[in-house]
Symmetry: C2
Subunit: 248 residues, 2 copies
DNA sequence: CGGACGGTTGACGAACTTCAAGTGGAGTGG
DNA sequence: CCACTCCACTTGAAGTTCGTCAACCGTCCG
């Protein structure tokens, strides 16, 4: 039940893969040095819980590699995923002690952590950090609201297509490609995790994936490897504007 | 189609009803004075659109009185409300030009606005503002995620009960009462607006309200005035923990 | 080999939407 | 004062989507 955590050796911030996207993105060299002093790495294996809902949380941090999920659970066991944490995403809330969500590693996961108190102190003195954190939080808020439309108004088929567009886009940006034409990527989630994200059952997820495959919107190699022959077609299936909905 | 806006005369910040909760909550007297110089009031009538999705937005601001909604619409007309803006809530995003949502006044509305450029400049120089805005944004993010659980996993009956608990709680805090025992308040939304918030049709909303009335969970005086004889009962109907789910 | 696990598929039923008719209150005009 | 109409809302009947229950497949692993 208690998750053993492996300490990993830190990378120099200058060489960090998420240097330009994480909460430290705006920091100057001297600010990075001070961050470097209070940071430490933690690794989690796939399936491990990083934080239990309601638990006291004495650190905040960034996902360096791997994927984690944020989920809420009702007493009777119904669960809803409320966030998908990718490399550079931030975990934890300065100024609050507990997490209202379970944070679970769905793949092997490495996090760059800061003890909360020193981080909060540093935020006070370093507008670059506070400013970047505000920017990231506003982005997450937009993403959460976008997802509310998916959950509230889209059909099962559109929900699946919406999830696939998100995964495809993210994969593209991580590999520095433009989201267009043919795209290939892996599903980092089980059918059940997809269902929890989309507010569906795993059976419905399975059926709709089969349907999209049958209709040529996607093809599968194995259960997890997806090919999207025409990204615009997928966007249409998701019910989105085909322009990709860029915000000014 | 173009909304005429009425300019109202500003109140002194010191006498402002949202002084202690809005983005300016942490400001010192001298900071307030500088804010006072760049602020102006705008009034909107019930039903007026404050901002159209995609429009350029040259101001940010706080709701002073009244209620506004944030909605997203798909091309085929399906709409999802993604936020309910109450007095002290903040509208607009520093660092971005457009709003991805329609903002609509559902009651007569007064906003305290700042032109975006001067406000952004002021944010740079005033950590109190940036800090408070971060705090408010994190609260909104939590609220959005809470709502994702409602949209994704709750039944129609639970959705209605969840909305009623939110409205009851807000009414209580505005009137400085504790949310417990018997509560009385007005519904500030039409059945259709409730449906858009909950991801339902207006008919389902109407039926479930009738059902809650029939079962004695609520009673109605007219269509809009609600009495909740037992708030804990309502929380149970919403599927929430009866402790109110306070976050540490 | 046997079991566990993730996934697929079918049959059936429940929950919610759709379509349609009808109610009640507020405002308007004769 | 009484139609008349408009609008938000209610209610009923029929239809659709998705969830539930259950059987089954293939792979991995001891």
């Amino acid at each position: 039940m208690l998750n053993e955590k492996t300490m990993s050796h830190s990378v120099e911030c200058g060489d960090c893969p998420i240097r330009h996207r994480a909460v430290c993105a705006r920091c100057e060299t001297d600010e990075l040095e001070r961050l470097e002093e209070i940071k430490y790495y933690r690794s989690f294996e796939a399936g491990q819980t990083v934080i239990w809902s309601g638990d006291r949380m004495d650190f905040v941090g960034s996902v360096v590699s791997g994927i984690a999920t944020l989920t809420q659970t009702m007493e009777d066991g119904r669960t809803q995923m409320v966030g998908l944490l990718l490399p550079s995403d931030f975990v934890g809330r300065p100024g609050r002690n507990g997490s209202p969500y379970d944070v679970v590693a769905t793949t092997d996961l490495v996090m760059c952590c800061f003890r909360k108190k020193p981080f909060e102190a540093m935020m006070e003195r370093t507008p670059h950090i506070a400013h970047r954190l505000l920017e990231m939080t506003l982005d997450e808020l937009d993403a959460a609201r976008e997802w509310m439309l998916v959950l509230g108004r889209k059909t099962a088929r559109e929900k699946i297509a919406s999830l696939l567009t998100i995964l495809a886009r993210r994969d593209a940006t991580l590999n520095l490609r433009a989201p267009e034409g043919a795209m290939v990527f892996d599903l980092p989630l089980t059918r059940e995790a997809m269902a929890d994200y989309l507010g569906l059952t795993l059976e419905t997820v399975s059926r709709q994936i089969s349907a999209l495959k049958r209709d040529g919107v996607i093809s599968l190699q194995g259960k997890r490897h997806v090919t999207v022959p025409d990204f615009v077609r997928l966007l249409e299936e998701a019910g989105d504007d085909s322009d990709g909905g860029l915000l000014a």
